[in-house]
């Protein structure tokens, strides 16, 4: 079956512009996660969606970052007024509901964002 897909695969934007990154999770996965990997760093948790529950936004680095998940499926991560330090690979993952345990998170290929 289809895995997690992300678009675009690469995005170059000018400092100060807004960008939207898209994630299509695996069908049937109720949990969705966003991470980012800056150069030379590990993956950093950004936000978690589970069903209709309020998302866990504790990893968002600033109020310029926001994310939505429409209809419990597709998610969009929006970065407003991009800064050069936002340059990173943004990874989306999905899983079955982790309630009461842990389920493997399946990652997409990521979107490489470069802010010039």
């Amino acid at each position: 079956g289809a895995g997690v897909s992300q678009s675009p695969s690469n995005k170059v934007t000018e400092k100060g512009k807004d960008v939207e990154l898209r994630c299509d999770p695996i069908s049937g996965h109720t949990a969705l996660y966003w991470y980012r990997q800056s150069l030379g760093q590990g993956l950093e948790f950004l936000i978690y969606f589970q069903g209709n529950s309020a998302p866990d936004k504790s990893g968002l680095p600033s109020d310029r970052f926001s994310a939505e998940r429409t209809g419990g499926s597709v998610s969009t991560l929006t970065i407003q007024r991009t800064q050069q330090e936002d340059s990173a690979v943004y990874l989306c993952a999905s899983s079955l509901s982790p309630s009461g345990g842990w389920y493997e998170q399946y990652f997409g290929p990521g979107t490489r964002l470069t802010v010039t």
């Binding site: 997690v4 949990a31 996660y33 991470y35 030379g40 760093q41 590990g42 993956l43 950093e44 948790f45 978690y48 589970q50 866990d56 504790s58 990893g59 990874l91 993952a93 899983s95 509901s97 982790p98 309630s99 009461g100 345990g101 842990w102 493997e104 998170q105 399946y106 990652f107 997409g108 290929p109 990521g110």
Partner: protein, 116 residues
């Protein structure tokens, strides 16, 4: 404050020999540990995990060892194969609200190169 540390950025081994990748953590609330493998231009893929109630978990050529008192885990690959060449990330989670372990904290990764 890096809670999951992979102190070796790279490791090179000969085909057929053992690869040992190490990981240390500082947060005593972590109770579930995972290894992910990542090829270039792809998202990380889950490899193997271990719960804090165990000290060893084995899956084919891959074995993860956990030493809770030392807050240390390691991944052993034997025998190593050229196809194992990838970046290996150690990750950890602790129980979040609702009894689920969804928030992963990742190390910076170790690049393993297996030479034919």
């Amino acid at each position: 404050d890096q809670q999951v540390k992979q102190n070796s950025p790279s490791l090179s081994v000969q085909e057929g020999r053992i690869s040992i990748l190490n990981c240390d953590y500082t947060n005593s609330m972590f109770d579930y540990f995972l290894w992910y493998k990542k090829y270039p231009a792809e998202g990380p893929t889950f490899l193997i995990s271990i719960s804090s109630i165990k000290d060893k978990n084995e899956d084919g050529r891959f074995t993860v060892f956990l030493n809770k008192s030392a807050k240390h885990l390691s991944l052993h690959i034997v025998p190593s194969q050229p196809g194992d060449s990838a970046v290996y990330f150690c990750a950890a989670s602790g129980e979040n609200s609702g009894g689920s372990n969804y928030k992963l904290t990742f190390g910076k990764g170790t690049l393993l190169t297996v030479n034919p």
